[in-house]
């Protein structure tokens, strides 16, 4: 257990060094911060002055060394836009991203597990209702998130005027971003749960339970579903990680004040310190979530729980 944790932490350290190094040079290859800051109308002299002022005229390796040294003391540099420490910018917006991720994940789990259990318990003989539901799930899986977002806005904000367009002013503004993200995740999770339930129902232990008088209901809830969900924990972990890192488009569409929209703004402004801070924080979160899902899997499956000292 302790060994595992240490190995994981070592992995994370290597990952973070590689990530920051790669980002540092890639970002500087894509844009000139000084020119960006000076604006389009600036003279070359003005640009040079800004370059010197921000220390951007020093050799790249010196800048890199300074940056990495700063990181060691949790100094991520300052935002060129807000002038605040980059990390503070990220930390300020992180709760909103976490909130949206938690809402979307909860909705996904609440919808996908019953749908999956229902689809998976057809025992090879799906009726018309299950066939139709399978088709809907299949189509939804192929629909990109931004299309769902635009459809939702068109229907519920423009036509019906039930929900506010965008922003974060109360519960009703949370609905559309949550539904958009869940619409992407539900079909995937539901299909995995359905496949796992169908697989579990074909197992010998289900036959044993049936032969001992267990009803179809008891078999589904006490035997098939627990085994099916065990196999789905890995996907839930991956999906949550995706929500932390991948809600950039959804946050932008709905002007959600999370790290996703911060990332977009920072990239547009060549605010490298913020871009890097976002990337590092997300990397750590994704890593933590994946490790958590791993540990949860080990804790839930008695076959892996073995040899716990």
């Amino acid at each position: 257990m302790r060994q595992l944790l240490l190995t994981r932490l070592a992995n994370l350290a290597v990952l973070l060094v590689a990530l920051t190094t790669l980002l540092f040079f890639l970002l500087r290859a894509t844009a000139d911060q000084a020119a960006m800051l000076a604006g389009v109308d600036a003279t070359p002299e003005q640009v040079a002055e800004i370059r010197a002022q921000y220390g951007l005229d020093r050799p790249l390796w010196r800048q890199y060394a300074d940056y990495m040294a700063g990181l060691a003391t949790l100094d991520f540099g300052e935002s060129l836009v807000s002038g605040k420490p980059a990390l503070a910018d990220v930390v300020e917006r992180l709760p909103w991203t976490l909130l949206l991720a938690a809402l979307a994940m909860t909705l996904t789990i609440v919808l996908a597990i019953p749908i999956g259990a229902w689809l998976g318990s057809a025992q090879g003989r799906p009726g018309p209702a299950r066939r139709a539901a399978s088709a809907v799930v299949f189509v939804l899986q192929g629909m990109p998130g931004f299309v769902v977002a635009l459809l939702l806005i068109e229907i519920f904000a423009v036509e019906l005027r039930w929900l506010p367009f965008i922003g974060n002013e109360g519960l009703d503004t949370w609905i559309m971003p949550t539904v958009t993200l869940a619409s992407f995740l539900v079909p995937r999770l539901a299909r995995v749960v359905a496949a796992n339930v169908a697989g579990a129902l074909a197992e010998d232990y289900v036959r044993t339970a049936r032969a001992a008088g267990a009803s179809a209901r008891e078999i589904l809830y006490r035997h098939a579903l627990p085994n099916a969900l065990l196999g789905a924990t890995a996907l839930v972990g991956t999906q949550f990680a995706f929500l932390l890192s991948g809600s950039v488009i959804t946050e932008s569409i709905f002007a959600w004040p999370g790290v996703g929209s911060l990332l977009v703004r920072a990239t547009q402004n060549a605010d490298f310190a913020v871009v890097q801070a976002v990337a590092i924080v997300i990397a750590i979160l994704v890593f933590t979530v994946n490790a958590g899902a791993d540990l949860a899997f080990k804790a839930l499956d008695p076959r892996l729980r073995e040899r716990r000292s």
């Binding site: 010998d204 232990y205 044993t208 008088g213 267990a214 008891e218 085994n227």
Partner: protein, 355 residues
């Protein structure tokens, strides 16, 4: 569900909420099967996997059902639980377990019979238990499931005690600890014992064991068979196996099944010493034996027929060395005392032939 003129049935006692005695003195057979058919629809029409099988098992009696893979023996066993998989159809003139007419019951009523009046031991003990629940949980669940409705519901503690007792009865050492073990923490032989405990926890009238020792190594096999026999008490046992020797060893009677029909049935010893049906003879000749003569094994020529293309009349005729023209007609099981066989040209009675 039991008729008024059968007050001795185990089910009556249970319905009345009284504790079921371990060995209810009963006259009704554990299993009474008359003219069982199991048909599967195929694109080419109905295929009869089981074709007119009649069997009866008395309380405390063990019947071995022997046949090759695909002979329909497992289907017969599943029919005793009304668990023939879709789209198979079960028909019979009589299908009674402990005086309960299984053909008249709907699914909820069948659930009440399964595990209570019939207990099943399946083939592969390693996969027969749910891997994420403890053995004790699974035994306790089967016990609790069949407690009579109404009256005080037994506590979890009581169910656990029952599970421990059941494990002890099948010879599992330290059952207080094993009750909390997960299936992967136990050996195959121990799991098969636990599975027998699971099948017997509600003292069923009939125990169906479908190849209970196939997945186990030889030394454990003998222990499991002895255990099954020893724990039988007043229940009937239907032992499905492909091994005539195993069946003869622990069973009172043996039924030999070929292509969905019983071809010979009789007291185990008699069947083994004096098989009358050529198929039974061939099965015996094909089995390895500890014989000083070291005769070579005699395989049966040909292959078991596919249920989709069966010959009219005796289904063994195409492979039978004793076939006669009349084999084109279906032979019926001709009872000769307790020993019956379906053959137009049976082998001589070996015992009578002896000087």
């Amino acid at each position: 569900m039991s008729t008024p003129d059968a007050p001795h049935a185990g089910g009556t006692a249970r319905a009345a909420g009284k504790p079921v005695p371990a060995s209810s003195p009963v006259g009704s057979p554990a299993l009474d099967l008359q003219d069982l058919r199991v048909d599967f629809p195929t694109p080419l029409g109905e295929v009869g996997i089981v074709d007119g099988v009649s069997l009866s098992i008395a309380r405390g009696e063990a019947l071995g059902m022997v046949g090759e893979s695909g002979s329909g023996k497992t289907m017969i066993a599943l029919a005793c639980l009304r668990m023939v998989p879709e789209p198979g159809r079960v028909a019979a003139t009589r299908l009674r377990v402990a005086d309960r007419d299984l053909l008249a019951l709907d699914e909820p009523a069948l659930c009440a019979v399964r595990g209570a009046d019939v207990g099943v031991v399946f083939q592969n003990p390693m996969t027969a238990f749910n891997p994420v629940r403890t053995i004790g949980e699974q035994l306790a669940a089967t016990w609790l499931r069949h407690r009579p409705a109404g009256g005080a519901r037994p506590s979890r503690r009581e169910a656990r005690e029952r599970a421990i007792a059941a494990l002890r009865e099948v010879g599992i050492a330290a059952p207080e600890r094993r009750v909390d073990a997960y299936p992967h923490q136990m050996s195959g032989g121990m799991l098969q014992r636990a599975l027998i405990a699971h099948a017997m926890i509600n003292q069923p009238a009939l125990i169906v064991a479908d190849e209970p020792t196939t997945a186990l190594d030889a030394t454990v096999q003998a222990q499991i068979l002895d255990l099954l026999r020893a724990r039988l008490a007043n229940a009937g046992l239907l032992l499905v196996t492909h091994d005539l020797g195993v069946a003869a060893e622990i069973c009172d009677r043996v039924a030999v099944v070929y292509a969905g029909r019983v071809v010979e049935v009789g007291p185990a010893r008699e069947l083994l010493e004096s098989p009358r049906h050529p198929y039974t003879q061939a099965l015996l000749a094909a089995a390895p034996r500890l014989d000083p003569e070291r005769r070579p094994l005699a395989p049966i020529p040909g292959a078991p027929p596919s249920p989709a293309d069966l010959v009219a009349g005796c289904r063994y005729a195409p492979r039978c060395p004793r076939a006669v023209p009349r084999c084109g007609e279906r032979p019926r099981l001709a009872p000769e005392g307790p020993h019956a066989y379906a053959c137009w040209n049976p082998a001589d009675d070996a015992r009578r032939a002896k000087p």
